[in-house]
Assembly symmetry: C2
Homo-oligomer: 290 residues x 2
């Protein structure tokens, strides 16, 4: 595995790989602090392509809380070892001055409902500008055929898909299933900051999603009723969520009945750690045998 | 010359040309109403490259006055003939729904001093967002090695250069000299809307720039004094300019003395037509013989 720090080096690596016959280049954009969720993205990229690039960049533009940015875990040596063992060919680990040199002045902004709901309130309106800008840069720098993102950050995937379609960036966006620990908690680099007691309470988030899915499977399609199921599970664990949202999977507009595929997304602080999780809800297939 | 209306067709044409051995693709983005200024860009692209793409798209996002958008001259058949005779290989003439389909939500915004001065006041703050967004889309759609712009729109060139550098779009930006009519007026698609009397008065704009250059050549480096020369020429023609700006050529910050290269830019309405022009000022080379 080659580690490069500069955009020009990344371009050279990709160009050389293509000259050697590589046809499909995949990129896994990360902020480091790798866990098995990231590695599942690498494995997906490995299956699809000839060359796997991973970027590790704690993007200051997408943090709106300086404490969150400062406290974000950084462990490059350990990350590099994990990346290499999972099959990364090129690790791109630039510093902030490489991606945002003096005089940098451009923002890629995705407007509309997509960035006015859910994470926009919790993370601030600039969060998704930071995401869209850095992802545009990473896709263009890597000239990737496909980019792999975790479905855990469902709204981020939607924003990236919108941006890529709107600007005509040729990279295909692939969303991979959320990876969970045995206790059901979605893997997140922020989980390490949970105490044992917080960790135990945090499992109420995936349990709330399961409660919603179970009720839907039994025929409950009212969002008001499903919301109450989720809230009950969270409340029992002493968790007061930032939001429990039921939105149309494509438009992110709130829905009141489950008809078309609906994203149920939860954000909550447990102690000082902000966690998110989601499930894609669909009506049970009436033709399916039980 | 092939005329295509869809991004996918443009991509196919460029891909086919590269497969046939074309190494350098140039694009000349225009809003149509072609004049010899545009054709000089085509000739530059023709000299540099194997394939010349021209886009014709009256971009609604960069118009902040609906009357200017509605009144912008549209003459596609005549433009196509001119483009073909100048050596365009592929004419890309999409409609607005092709570049901005339903749900389009992305804006490329260049911030900072570059977009807070000169044309930002005359054309509104969204003007350069519209320019940056459509140019990003055109460069990515054409996968061009070089793009050709007229130096007449000096600030536009600066904004495009900034955006391309910041996002890491691989296209080289080439600025070509302003082309002028015999009376000195910079060619512009808007000139056709001038009456004969207005046309005659409008020549005060290039004459004001010449007066500045002449004074500088004689050793006058004070911007206050140079500004007065320009203002005198304009006033004599009954023109009250929107701005006569002297700005650092790289930062667009106002200067008070000519030392480093300075852009002198003028915007003025003559009748109902808004015209711009500029000159790049540099100190006379003291080593040059006279």
């Amino acid at each position: 595995m080659k580690i490069v720090r500069r955009v020009s080096e990344l371009r050279d690596e990709v160009r050389r790989a293509r000259a050697r016959g590589a046809e499909r280049v995949g990129i896994v954009p990360t902020m480091g602090a790798l866990h098995d969720g990231h590695l599942s993205l690498v494995r997906a990229a490995r299956r699809d392509g000839d060359v796997v690039v991973m970027s590790i960049f704690v993007n200051p533009k997408q943090f709106t809380e300086s404490a969150d940015l400062a406290g974000y875990p950084r462990q490059e040596a350990a990350d590099a070892a994990l990346a290499e063992s999972a099959g990364v060919d090129v690790l791109f680990a630039p510093d902030a001055a490489e991606l945002y040199p003096d005089g940098f002045a451009t923002t890629v902004h995705v407007g509309g409902p997509l960035t006015q709901t859910m994470e926009a309130s919790g993370r601030g309106p600039e969060h998704f500008d930071g995401v869209a800008t850095v992802v545009a840069k990473l896709l263009l720098a890597s000239d990737a055929d496909a980019a792999y993102f975790g479905q855990k950050d469902a709204q981020q995937v939607m924003v990236v898909r919108r941006m890529v379609a709107d600007l005509g960036i040729r990279t295909r966006i692939v969303a991979c299933p959320t990876v969970r620990d045995r206790d059901g908690l979605a893997l997140s680099s922020r989980n390490v900051r949970l105490s044992a007691e917080e960790r135990s309470r945090a499992t109420a988030i995936p349990r709330a999603l399961e409660a919603v899915e179970a009720a839907l499977a039994l025929g409950e399609t009212s969002v008001e009723a499903l919301h109450a199921r989720a809230a009950a599970v969270l409340t029992a664990a002493g968790i007061s969520p930032e939001y429990v949202a039921f939105v149309d999977e494509r438009t992110v507009r709130p829905v009141s009945e489950i008809a078309d595929p609906v994203l149920c997304a939860i954000a909550a602080r447990v102690g000082s750690v902000r966690l998110i999780d989601n499930a894609l809800l669909a009506l049970p297939d009436p033709t399916e045998e039980h």
